[in-house]
């Protein structure tokens, strides 16, 4: 009897040896005379257990991990016994997965990402069917009713964006998917593109149908070669199937970025797609009126678009019933950095930061106390333990001078030097600034220099006042979120960790 074994092909699993495990399973099975079938899947998102493989049994799939190539012989000869030291049991029963509500990631890690049959067997395709039955206006209405807000960070209601494009008359409209997931601590877009690419294709096709667009672009950052490859293959398969192409009335082209963080900003991304320097455009006009090539354009984050099929398939109410306040539905939260149980945790809005970091994440990887958590990427605020009661919700984070952004949570232990983190925020802004507006272009460099003076202990109070003032200028004077939000990590570090900005640095002095 052939044993079916699932091995992730997600980049984070490959980065810790999943390909070697897959190859060892094939060669060792052959040597031992066992019949095995290897199926490559996305990742379940429990990265401390990767490579986590699963074996098909009459009682369902049984997980083992973290597996190294040298464990393979042992696993095969023991017939994947429940007594094996890497035995994890049914993945669905692992607390990290059991506590989730997976809507976006329902199939990720389960199916072969490039099997359309597998996609459909696991509920894929129902969203576009329901959209067609509702009609274009009904589809926009349904998305609006779901309360879905843009998952890229700004949290703008997706339905309203779609309606604006739907109501704008034009000979050509576009759907642009922002897959320029540059925030450190985030990987949800990457995982879904590598693990369930047809879901994104379906979401974009629904958007195209709803607003009257016939062409879509997925702009994927070049740092994600695996995601680019998977999406390109998926598009070819979808065309062959008729899910895309003339019959479907919608085409998708995959475009590769070129290493500019600022291209995650929507207008900069449009410039880049047009073949230009990724410089931010002033708004108005909104992309919904004049976007790509001057045409009305829906530009949505990957996670917004992959939510749409579920909203349509199961109804807006089903989705809107989850969450808290004005943050409806679920959010794929990414637990990252110095964390014991890092990975993808999709849950309805409303869990507190403390639950996420301490209960779900299990505290730090190093075993030392958690000191700071940066939520929302390089432009997000650093929160101390004192703010761990903040619920995961757009408004609750904003009320505490933070943001949830793309829901990356990066944990730091007590060895972190927050003055250096503040300096890095300015440095990163200086490296990645598109150069269009002065507060961002010049302010970031001057900010970095001034924080250097503070770190050296030069006129600390006066220089802190200068940095604070500079942050106000950047916040209110920058064209986009790069310059505008860099003050979040800087000011939060100063506010919550003042002791780090006024102390001699023994380590630095000893260098």
């Amino acid at each position: 009897m052939t044993t079916k074994i699932f091995v992730p092909c997600d980049a984070a699993a490959r980065a810790v040896g999943a390909d070697k495990v897959a190859a060892a399973l094939v060669s060792e099975a052959k040597r031992l005379g066992r019949a095995v079938e290897i199926v490559r899947t996305g990742s379940r998102g429990l990265f401390w257990l990767e490579p986590m493989i699963e074996v098909q049994t009459p009682a369902g799939r049984i997980a083992f991990g973290p597996v190294k190539a040298k464990d393979v012989t042992d696993l095969l000869t023991s017939d994947f016994s429940a007594g094996h030291r890497l035995h994890l049991g049914r993945p669905e029963e692992l607390p990290f997965l059991k506590r989730q509500t997976r809507i976006n990631f329902a199939r990720c890690g389960i199916i072969d990402p490039l099997s359309l049959a597998g996609y459909r067997a696991h509920g894929g395709g129902r969203g576009i069917e329901r959209a067609r039955s509702l009609g274009a206006a009904g589809t926009v209405e349904e998305v609006t009713k779901s309360g879905l807000r843009g998952r890229g960070g700004a949290g703008f209601p997706t339905g309203i964006k779609w309606k604006t494009v739907a109501d704008t008359a034009a000979d050509q409209k576009y759907i642009v998917c922002n897959a320029d997931e540059g925030d450190s601590g985030t990987f949800a877009d990457r995982m879904i593109m590598e693990g369930d690419p047809f879901l994104l294709i379906e979401g974009m096709a629904i958007a195209g149908f709803a607003v009257g667009a016939t062409k879509g672009y997925v702009y994927i950052r070049s740092e994600y070669p695996d995601a680019i490859r998977t999406m390109e293959r998926a598009v070819v398969l979808a065309e062959a199937d008729g899910m895309l192409g003339p019959e479907a009335g919608f085409d998708i082209e995959i475009r590769e970025g070129a290493g500019a963080y600022v291209c995650g900003e929507e207008t900069s991304l449009l410039e880049s797609l047009e073949g230009k320097r990724g410089q931010v455009r002033a708004k108005p006009p909104l992309p919904a009126h004049k976007g790509l090539f001057g045409k009305p354009t829906v530009i949505n984050n990957v996670l917004s678009l992959v939510t749409v099929p579920a909203v349509l398939a199961d109804g807006a109410k089903h989705y809107a019933d989850l969450g808290m306040g004005r943050s409806r539905g679920t959010m794929p939260i990414q637990l990252a950095g110095n964390i014991k149980h890092g990975g993808l945790f999709e849950a309805p809005f409303g869990m507190t930061l403390g639950e996420l970091v301490d209960d779900i994440g299990g505290g730090t990887h190093s075993g030392r106390p958690v000191r700071a958590v940066q939520v929302g990427g390089p432009l997000g605020a650093y929160f101390p333990r004192g703010l761990f009661d903040t619920p995961f919700d757009y408004e609750a984070f904003a009320a505490r001078d933070g943001l949830i952004g793309h829901a990356g949570v990066v944990v730091f232990d007590d060895t972190v030097d927050m003055a250096r983190q503040a300096r890095f925020a300015m440095e990163f802004c200086a490296i990645e600034s598109c150069g269009k507006c002065t507060p961002c272009r010049i302010g970031s460099t001057r900010g970095m220099e001034t924080i250097d003076k503070i770190i050296r202990g030069e006129r600390t109070e006066a220089n802190l006042a200068i940095v604070t003032d500079l942050c106000q200028t950047m916040k209110f004077g920058s064209l986009c979120a790069l310059g505008g939000f860099t003050p979040y990590p800087v000011l939060s570090a100063i506010k919550h960790f003042p002791e780090d900005f006024n102390r001699p640095r023994l380590a630095a002095a000893a260098e």
Binding site: D183, E256, G278
Partner: protein
């Protein structure tokens, strides 16, 4: 080794993209894949085909971190320097790697076998520190990984 500049090859690449809207980035990626960089003589050829000025094409090449004006070493190691990797002592690891190969950020070894560059996030943030060697992801980097990198680059 990447092939030397060859205008006919460049024209082939340009032809493959003819009729494509906003094709400059895909063209530059393909040129770089062919020649290992965007060579200076490519700029006027691309500009002419796309009806752009040379300054416009040069402006795009210089704006994006990915595009090189000179070829990199035979192996390219990109070490992540973003926050998640910082939280796991990625900077200290990166310094060790740089010291081992006696390089600064962006530098290439004198024998041309390795270039080390910074990268800001590979999306492997729950398995930090992370890197990419010749396009292949590596994570949970430790002393063993340093030896593995040294073996790979020969």
């Amino acid at each position: 080794m990447s092939p030397a500049w060859d205008e006919a090859r460049a024209q082939d690449i340009l032809r493959r993209h003819s009729g494509r809207k906003g094709a400059l980035l895909p063209i530059l990626h393909d040129i770089q894949a062919e020649f290992g960089c965007v060579p200076a003589p490519a700029i006027p050829v691309i500009a002419h085909t796309l009806n752009l000025t040379r300054a416009e094409v040069h402006g795009v090449v210089s704006f994006y971190h990915d595009f090189r004006e000179k070829p990199a070493g035979r192996h390219v190691l990109k070490l992540c320097r973003a926050e998640a990797c910082q939280s796991m002592n990625g900077e200290a690891f990166a310094q060790q790697v740089l010291e081992r190969f006696d390089l600064d950020w962006g530098g290439t070894t004198p024998d041309g076998r390795l270039t080390i560059e910074p990268i800001y996030c590979l999306g492997l943030c729950a398995s930090s520190p992370s890197a990419m060697l010749d396009g292949q992801p590596m994570a949970r980097l430790d002393q063993d990984s340093l030896d593995e990198i040294a073996r790979e680059v020969g």
